[in-house]
């Protein structure tokens, strides 16, 4: 039997198109907060999703379009059968797989550490799965998280 999957709408569209600028995260955050409320997500899950979305969106905004302005598209699905949320980020910026980033050395002291580079590492830990693909000249990142109440 096929899973019952629900696509969240934003202003009548089945995705949210954002300018790839860090300040646009405000719009994504508001949308995600309203979805969290609708699904009655546990506070912990809501925060984990927001932190992860922040990291991915910041990456796209900071590195995706070095030669000009661009956009990022976000879709959010809820798999009712498996109680799983899927966030998909697409951008048509330069080909870039953030998952190939080297893992930061978290054993180093604060003085020795590079500031930055922690974002994707955090996403990998907070989400159940994170996948990258290059599709139709777009970078596509797929984040999945199961919802557990309790």
């Amino acid at each position: 039997m096929a899973n019952d999957i629900r696509r969240f709408m934003f202003n009548g569209e089945d995705s949210l198109m954002l300018p790839a600028r860090r300040d646009a995260f405000v719009t994504l955050k508001e949308w995600m907060d309203s979805i969290a409320e609708e699904l009655n997500l546990p506070t912990k899950t809501r925060r984990q999703l927001l932190v992860s979305a922040d990291e991915i969106f910041t990456n796209i905004s900071s590195y995706g379009y070095p030669f000009g302005e661009g956009t990022a598209k976000v879709t959010i699905d809820f798999d009712v059968t498996n109680a799983e949320i899927t966030l998909v980020f697409s951008d048509n910026g330069i080909p870039y797989n953030p998952l190939e980033n080297s893992t930061p050395d978290i054993s180093k002291s604060l003085d020795e550490r590079e500031i930055g580079g922690l974002g994707i590492f955090v996403v990998k830990k907070l989400m159940d799965t994170v996948e990258y693909k290059r599709e139709n000249d777009c970078n596509v990142l797929i984040l999945k998280k199961k919802i557990s109440h309790g």
Binding site: L50, V51, E55, F57, L110, D111, L118
Partner: protein, 100 residues
């Protein structure tokens, strides 16, 4: 995000009460407010009681502030919720910072 800064009479002890999320949008504001006030401060406390979540942009502010304070004083993180603590723990920062 909101920040309220309170200092003692001689300006050496400072507490920043942070409210909301410290994320990619708000972290630069927090950084600016702290940088404007930390001169002469030897004990800086970030009170996170009313913080919702912290992303790596917020971690960066904490690391920069800790680096600044480590020369002449110390940084203390206070009232950190368990989800912020999770992010600090994932990145190993919980071992390196003073968390009360």
């Amino acid at each position: 995000m909101n920040v309220e800064i309170v200092k003692n009479a001689d300006g050496t002890v400072m507490t920043a009460y942070v409210e909301g999320s410290v994320d990619t949008v708000t972290a630069p504001t927090l950084q600016e407010k702290l940088s404007n006030e930390w001169k002469g401060v030897t004990e800086l406390t970030l009170d996170f009681e009313k913080v919702d979540y912290v992303s790596s942009a917020g971690l960066r502010v904490i690391m920069v502030t800790d680096r600044q304070m480590s020369d002449n004083g110390k940084l203390i993180l206070k009232n950190v919720n368990e989800d912020v603590r999770e992010v600090l723990s994932i990145t190993g920062l919980d071992e390196l910072l003073n968390i009360e």
